[in-house]
């Protein structure tokens, strides 16, 4: 087996849900837990939505407590500080729209190294919230060749058809140019 085939096989074995090549990425969240109870949640989306949007919700999976976070460190990253040790679900208050690459309602982050006593926030404190827009299902929709992708707000669509159609046109144009060579003379 060649090196790249070995790599591809390993990637397929390890990737699971987050796998994507030059394909529509799953839309969702990447939490990064830092020491001292700070959590940064990067929103992975190609929808054009920007932090703070309608806020990010944090739900404690043990107590059910829900708060809303509105502080951003960049256009797509929320910051949460002084988070006590525990397991939390983070997701936008207005869920990401279903995307052909699959879309998450939330991502789970586990804080093991909570804040020191007397932790002081340098950002606005989260506001209490009453509910999250998700239930037990983590996915708004899963990636599929077959399913709709709710992309009607895009003039060119957001689906596989528009991408592959464009590539087909490029192939046809390329084949035409490949066959036609300026200056080539017939006998």
């Amino acid at each position: 087996m060649r090196a790249w085939e070995t790599f591809a096989a390993m990637a397929v074995a390890f990737l699971g849900a987050p796998a994507r090549a030059n394909a529509p990425a799953p839309e969702g969240y990447t939490p990064a837990v830092e020491p001292g109870g700070t959590v940064e949640i990067h929103v992975m989306t190609t929808s054009g939505r920007r932090c703070p949007d309608d806020g990010l919700l944090r739900r404690n999976t043990s107590t059910g407590e829900i708060v809303q976070i509105t502080t951003c460190s960049d256009d797509l990253t929320f910051v949460d500080q002084c988070v006590l040790a525990g397991e939390y679900q983070y997701g936008l208050a207005t869920p990401l729209a279903c995307h052909v690459g699959g879309t998450e309602y939330y991502e789970t982050a586990t804080v093991t190294d909570g804040p020191a006593e007397g932790c002081t926030r340098t950002i606005e404190a989260p506001a209490p919230a009453t509910s999250v827009p998700w239930g037990s299902e983590k996915w708004v929709c899963r990636s599929s060749y077959r399913g709709p992708d709710n992309s009607s707000n895009f003039p060119f669509g957001c689906g596989t058809g528009s991408v592959l159609g464009t590539n087909l046109l490029v192939v046809l144009a390329g084949l035409g140019l490949w066959r036609w060579r300026p200056g080539r003379r017939r006998a």
């Binding site: 790249w4 790599f7 591809a8 990637a11 397929v12 990737l15 699971g16 849900a17 987050p18 796998a19 994507r20 090549a21 030059n22 394909a23 529509p24 990425a25 799953p26 969702g28 969240y29 990447t30 939490p31 990064a32 837990v33 990067h42 992975m44 989306t45 190609t46 929808s47 054009g48 960049d74 256009d75 797509l76 052909v100 690459g101 699959g102 998450e104 991502e107 789970t108 990636s143 599929s144 992309s151 895009f154 003039p155 060119f156 669509g157 596989t160 528009s162 991408v163 592959l164 464009t166 590539n167 490029v170 192939v171 144009a173 390329g174 084949l175 035409g176 140019l177 490949w178 066959r179």
Partner: protein
């Protein structure tokens, strides 16, 4: 993203999750041999060009266009089209055959797009 994707690398202000880095790896693993196959006798050189061009377009696709494009334009469609044409431009610069460059790029990007969807399915 899976819970295991929490680890990430920050490079030049970009948050590169392990999921992203693996995705880039899969993209390169698919596209580099496809492009090289279109250039017998120059496979190694074109493989390097492909790897460089694909890395740039992949970064733009995931991190660039979603941030700068107006909402009326699909970053996915625009990004994929840009990737195909941009990589073809790189192959043309390296090889000076525009037709072959377009075909190689479009076929390679279609393959990696398809593999990505299959992995997600």
């Amino acid at each position: 993203m899976a819970a295991g994707s929490a680890a990430r690398v920050t490079l030049a202000g970009l948050h590169l999750s392990t999921g992203y880095l693996l995705a880039l790896g899969v993209t390169l693993a698919v596209e580099v041999p496809v492009v090289a196959a279109f250039y017998p006798g120059r496979r190694r050189r074109m493989a390097v060009v492909c790897a460089a061009a694909t890395t740039v377009t992949h970064l733009l696709l995931v991190f660039g266009f979603p941030r700068i494009l107006p909402r009326a334009i699909s970053p996915l469609w625009f990004g994929e089209a840009f990737a195909t044409l941009g990589e073809a431009g790189a192959y043309w610069i390296a090889d000076r055959q525009v037709g072959r460059a377009l075909v190689a790029s479009a076929v390679a990007n279609t393959c990696s797009y398809g593999v990505g969807l299959l992995l997600l399915w």
